[in-house]
């Protein structure tokens, strides 16, 4: 028969006939056949076989429980103290990190503002640089065009100067030929004719050069 089949709701009626044995679990156990086990734990046997037989003392917590509880209290106190210290430490660290975070955020905001300002300046300078480059290209182009115009004008001036000299020589040659014709008796007819051909050819060449020049002006 299991001890669980016999309720222990009437311990006071049987206490005089059956000794009560307190198991490790702390609950009393009744036994009708076997003698009670010999306990080597003096406090328990003393309590169970006490001549005073003070009832239900078997249900009070044993003294060892109190020492355990005190141990737990100490442990809990130590743990609580540790946790409190830890919490305080974490709070201080958190404050430090937050302070530094705020400082860094302030610097970042300031740097962002500087970067934005610098970017604006860079864009402005790039626009000025582009404008300056365009102006420079335009200026160099104008210099080149002006130099070209000047050189070509000097080419034409040199050519026209030579052409004018040639016309002058043509005119002088024609005047000389006319003078020779006026004094034809002094010269042979063949020499006068040869001079006339030479003068005519020379003046024709000069005139052709002038016509070529005019044609080149029209084509250009």
């Amino acid at each position: 028969m299991s001890t669980n089949d016999e309720p222990t709701s009437r311990p006071s009626d049987r206490e005089t006939r059956f000794p009560v044995v307190a198991p490790k679990s702390g609950l009393p156990v009744f036994s009708s056949t076997s003698p009670p086990p010999v306990r080597s734990d003096p406090p328990h046997t003393t309590a169970a076989s006490s001549a005073d037989a003070s009832p239900p003392t078997a249900f009070s917590p044993p003294p060892v429980k109190k020492s355990h509880a005190r141990g737990w209290v100490v442990v809990l106190a130590v743990v609580c103290a540790g946790l409190a210290t830890l919490a305080a430490y974490l709070w201080v660290i958190n404050e430090q990190w937050q302070d530094q975070n705020d400082e860094l955020r302030t610097q970042v905001a300031s740097l962002n503002a500087d970067v934005a300002e610098n970017n604006a300046q860079i864009q402005g300078l790039q626009a000025e640089l582009t404008n300056a480059q365009e102006n420079l290209e335009g200026a160099t182009g104008k210099v080149t065009d002006l130099a070209d115009s000047s050189a070509n004008a000097k080419d034409q001036a040199a050519f026209l100067t030579e052409l004018a000299d040639s016309f002058q020589q043509c005119a002088e040659a024609q005047a000389s030929h006319i003078s020779h014709l006026e004094n034809a008796s002094r010269y042979t007819a063949s020499s006068l004719a040869a001079e006339g051909r030479d003068v005519s050819n020379y003046c024709s060449d000069v005139e052709q050069s002038y016509l070529d020049y005019q044609a080149s002006l029209k084509s250009s």
Partner: protein, 246 residues
């Protein structure tokens, strides 16, 4: 007691998994000082800016280029040349041969008068001397161009505005156009009359030839660097250029 035994390893496990946070390290001393942050931007290199090597917008090659007008016995000729030193200009022989007077014009219209000239008979080369000092000088290269080198031809095509035309070096070929005896360089660049005497520059900006002819098919021919160096170094090869207009 068993709970305590369970609690201890649990605490140890928790401690092992986490490290107590430390105080933030001090900010570095090199942290940017917002008050002194420089607002001067660092300029970025621009290819278009880098291409301009001088302050007035013209390149060194353009500075050294000259437009040459020569009055020969029976015509005017226009060609190109480049400054060799303060008093010497290099051009083609056929530009100044039999010239009675030679006029040289710089990129900005400044004018010089040639006082004398000499020619080569082995290549289409000539030197013109000026009294007034020239302001620039083109560096003569030390190495011949290699195939596919991009070469610049700087001169005055058709006697017009100064131009720089670029094309790859092709190869060395026999001279079948001019009257020279030396081989010449073939360059794939379109040139015009008036480009004769233009300096041919390698990618390093050094003269590696003197343009003297074109086939009108997008290919041009240049006197080689070797011929130029021979002509410049040996004065016995510099023949007088006396105009005989008979």
């Amino acid at each position: 007691m068993r709970r305590l035994l369970l609690l201890v390893p649990a605490a140890v496990a928790l401690a092992g998994c986490s490290v107590l946070p430390q105080s933030p390290p001090p900010l570095p001393s090199t942290a940017p000082d917002t008050a002194n942050t420089s607002t001067t931007p660092t300029p970025s290199a621009s290819p278009s800016v880098a291409a301009v090597t001088v302050a007035d917008g013209f390149t060194d090659q353009e500075h050294a280029a000259l437009r040459i007008r020569a009055r020969t016995c029976d015509e005017f000729t226009v060609g190109s040349g480049f400054m060799l030193d303060a008093h010497t200009v290099v051009t083609n022989r056929h530009v100044v041969e039999d010239a009675q007077n030679i006029t040289l014009t710089t990129y900005d219209g400044e004018q010089y008068e040639g006082t004398s000239s000499v020619m080569a008979d082995f290549a289409d080369l000539a030197l013109v001397t000026v009294d007034e000092p020239l302001e620039f000088a083109a560096p003569i290269g030390s190495a011949e161009p290699a195939p596919d080198d991009e070469l610049d031809v700087v001169g005055y095509p058709l006697g017009g505005p100064l131009e720089t035309r670029t094309g790859p070096y092709v190869k060395r070929v026999p001279d079948t156009i001019g009257q020279g005896r030396d081989d010449v360089d073939l360059i794939k660049v379109e040139a015009e009359h008036g480009n004769s005497g233009s300096a041919v520059y390698d990618p390093n900006g050094q003269v590696v030839g003197v343009l003297y002819a074109t086939d009108k098919k997008g290919e041009s021919f240049a006197v080689t660097l070797q011929s130029l160096n021979t002509f410049l170094s040996d004065t016995s090869l510099q023949l007088p250029n006396d105009a005989d207009c008979g």
